[in-house]
Symmetry: D3
Subunit: 249 residues, 6 copies
């Protein structure tokens, strides 16, 4: 009998080939709400996994926790039990003016300013989304009428450093759209392991706003951020569905 993966606590067969990856275990409920039906497979530490169907397509969702290291564990273990296409549905702070809370960022690639991907491959290796998954996300956003910005995001390991102003100014000046803490790890590892990945991020802090207010608004359930979360899940599910239909065709 095949052993359960040690952290996500799933076995081969538990997880669909198409997987959504929120950071927050709490967001699994918001995903479940958009499925035809679902059941919880496992819940250990920050890893909660459900499997169900969306318009007939089998799909799973696993929370990664915050940061590249816990995301790396989830990605590695999910691929070992059968995941093949992974889309992060996360949140981000914007780095460019004109991007509003609730807008979506669709990552074409990511700045690897986190430590987890560096354990695997030198930083010269690019963190790039799978081009077909990316195209499916952009098409889904267009079809659903959701505002989505395609470009680079920056993934890092802390937003509480003493040089946040400097870091933010630098990367904004390089045209990066926004920051999160998991996309670069996901894109790097999935490609190295032969899986396909992309990332869609709900903007919860505008470029000119303070971090803490933004996140608190999210926690407090402010409307724009909540709508963005709903939108990114819908976009990701519809993109996966299109890929699934094409494959099944």
């Amino acid at each position: 009998m095949v052993e359960r993966q040690p952290h996500i606590q799933c076995r081969p067969g538990d997880v669909a080939p198409f997987v959504l990856l929120p950071g927050d275990p709490g967001r699994i409920h918001a995903i479940a709400a958009q499925l035809d039906r679902w059941e919880q497979i496992a819940c250990n530490r920050e890893y909660r996994t459900i499997t169900g169907t969306f318009r007939g397509m089998p799909v799973s969702a696993t929370s990664t926790g915050i940061g590249g290291p816990s995301t790396a564990i989830a990605v590695e273990e999910l691929i070992r039990v059968g995941a093949r296409v992974l889309i992060r549905v996360g949140s981000a702070g914007a780095l460019q003016p004109g991007i509003r809370v609730g807008d979506l960022l669709v990552a074409v690639g990511a700045v690897r300013e986190e430590g987890a991907s560096a354990m695997y491959v030198p930083p010269a290796y690019p963190a790039v989304s799978d081009h077909a998954v990316l195209a499916a996300l952009l098409k889904a956003a267009g079809d659903l009428g959701v505002t989505a910005h395609a470009g680079l995001v920056r993934s890092h390991d802390s937003f509480y450093t003493d040089r946040e102003d400097e870091l933010t100014r630098f990367w904004a000046g390089k045209g990066v759209l926004g920051s999160d803490m998991e996309t670069a790890t996901l894109l790097t590892l999935a490609r190295l392991r032969g899986a396909r990945a992309a990332s869609v991020l709900n903007v919860v802090v505008p470029a000119d706003g303070g971090l803490e207010e933004g996140i608190n608004d999210l926690v407090a359930g402010k409307e724009a951020a909540r709508q963005g979360e709903t939108a990114e899940i819908r976009v990701a599910l519809q993109a996966l569905h299109a890929l699934w239909t094409e494959e099944s065709g």
Copy 2:
């Protein structure tokens, strides 16, 4: 009114100056079981916080999740609401023969092979435990008759890389006792922020054992690892109590 911290969801006054930091939110229950009384303060994402008393000493515990990035958030936000002494109670894989599952590692310092501390200060800056907290931990372990190894640990961002053998051999050859994913972040940030920190780790994988079996044993509740977890919590609480008594004296 002072705002809640965005991730741990605590306000000043919610948290005692003395805090235990397990990685796993599930370990909060094992800590609670050793307190006189306690209540849950908040639970958001991988951050679960309780506050209570141990033999009359006010004490809190907050889970950090896996990895330096989520640990950095917990440490930063806890210090902002009043934490002053932080002891990680985590788990580790051993790098030296002769260290058994359930033995404790007490970190004198940590190799900073994780990305989160590098966001703050160049790697030449040492991740070192507070010497008084360290002494209190070693004394408590001695008084309680627990096997505790004092020395360096290595904190990293993934144990699923393609060069684990090479990394393990290298650091074992440098005398490092074991590996975890959070200690270096905690020690570096706490010192930079003027707080005092140390780390005690329960060995769940021996040096010559495979990783996945080890962790699975823990999850499955194997006895040695479970006893080690109980022991590390007891050692940490007794060490904090000694420091508290001394301060209150």
Copy 3:
């Protein structure tokens, strides 16, 4: 009067918004052969520039010379005089078995193992193709029935080092499709400057073949490599035409 750019010797108006970038000035002729009509704009050092039309679409081609530094100059100066979409039509050595001479590599992104892009931005920043130009290239290849492999390429600054075996094995093991010397510079700079870029490479050396034979075969005009060159130019022109039609629409 606006000054000529110092190296490419072009003025605003001399160059169309859509530009092909071969490395070899000699390949300009092969490009010209596929245009409706064309004229040579300038020829200075390794930079030869022609402007003409392809099925009615205005298009230019400028040779970049070998390597990131001369490519950086071409890209910067072309963008200053009006280039907006740039496609490299170059040659590559394969890193994976099963890729044959004359097959095309379409770069999703590039490993930045060259020095020129590092003058601009840290290596954590990914060298990624513009997703719409990439999609147009893949569609054109499909429509034309050309074998095209989409994936990562590696750009470097020398293939004559004493550690070529080691470098080749390392990057092949990471799934990289092939190596050239210019793609990473182009993709990085174009994105930083707000232009759109992609790269299609004709394989002239197979993964298990020696370098010198491969390149000599090209020089000697061996048939497979020559057909690959013709094919990559055709694919790139057709992709640009599709983007132009869409924009003009």
Copy 4:
């Protein structure tokens, strides 16, 4: 017959397990003055070694010269002939206000901004004092009524660079107590070689004073610095004596 070590010119048996390490060969006399009895073992280049007893405990002292490289040689060769516990008795410039000339810094750990330790192990490895030797030093300082500051020091390879202001501001801002040129090398190498080490430093330049005046005052024999030197030797000898008594017990 066992060969003499090439630089310190000592054989096994010449040196006691407990060794003081001043930088200046001239400070050997100040150490000798506090011993019961002593003899000079060797004097070659900057390495002068004496062996004697302090209240019955066998003890040696070897000067290391200035800087990590000559210190590395002394530490390696001393350990080869039998040294087991090594305490540097050096001088430092303060980086924090409120630390006065003649105060002692007791290094909990050291920033590895010197080149010698980097020859051995990556900078992520922490330069940390042995916790028991550190505790003995702090206890001795307390018992003797000497002002001693416990914390991090920074070891570097030159204080004559063009960016001293920047370096000083940076590390002072990170809470580092003071700077020397040897502590990080000693702590790193001793731990790698299985020996125990610590460092106590006499402050000869205050944080707001100029370097050259401070050092000149020392050379000129100014009183505070001289008293600090006497105090650090006394503290180190008393700490070693306590460890020796404990071991002998």
Copy 5:
């Protein structure tokens, strides 16, 4: 039969042991004009090679194209077919006031701020001219009454970055005379391959002038720059002749 080198398209016997290396294929004509007689050996991409005699000495000249990568190819392939002494005759921007357009810089060594030499050996390895070739260049300049400044130059991979002011100020402050894009690659590779190399550079942009004007002046054939080009070729040929005479002696 020995194969032609794949890029420079030369065979053993085609090239003299003494070789001049201009960057610009167009400068080959200016070199030819100073030879007794010459013939073109090959012309492929940016590599144009002639071989002839100067006052009876056999000599070749090969253009390298712009940048370290194409220079590395030329240097490697030339040495394979018999080159033993290589002198770059290039152009530079001045970094120090008082150096005029048309003055020559004779490189004692070069800052390795380009990527090509880094593929071969860590940056700690110095890019240094062969001392005898350097001495011959300085003597020739003196004998010919040409203003030549001996010192360090800096070789880089782009002068179009967003931090040119910062880079220029930094290296000017370190005493570097001027900047080019090929010298460091040449000096590093030639020494590693056991050949002898040096570099003489014609100043085409003064320290306080703008880049583009300077280069345009060169292209437009401004007099000072043209005279500098003639002078550097004369100096290099005379230096090679002196070395040849000495060897032949």
Copy 6:
């Protein structure tokens, strides 16, 4: 009144513009033995300074101690009190077969594998001898009939690391002649400060010999090494004399 330099304890006027720099204070006597007359100026720590005349030329000698950090102090302070031309007269281990004990290495440049020069300028900056001082050394060696090898040396911060075999093989493979611990610091700092420097090294350990025997032989006064020491001092003095004569001319 001008203050004494804090470490070398010299004032302006105490030291001649031409200075020899042995590492070992004991070698000052061997230098003095070749002077017309001399007096000791200062002796503090590892810094012993004498000033005298050699065939009428005023000359000084200051010992630097072992390693880049103490050498940096000596070089900085000597230049502050008037030194203008500095020649290291040190010892080295050979990295190439065929170099015998007592042969001299004349450094054309040095690999900067030591930490002191890195405090001043990035490693891409080359450590290069002054070409005129180098030429004078080579001429003096020739005139005196001393075997002298001109080429690169490598300066490092420890020869007791666990990877000496690897380091030695690597740099020998790159053609480096031998290793010492001070040359790179001297060459880098002197050039940055506008002084002229070079280095001549007496080989005391052959490439295929063990380190410790070699150095012990030196200490024991073995004949070849002793003759090499005498030779290097003679060569350096004669070179300085030639430069002095030329300047005075």
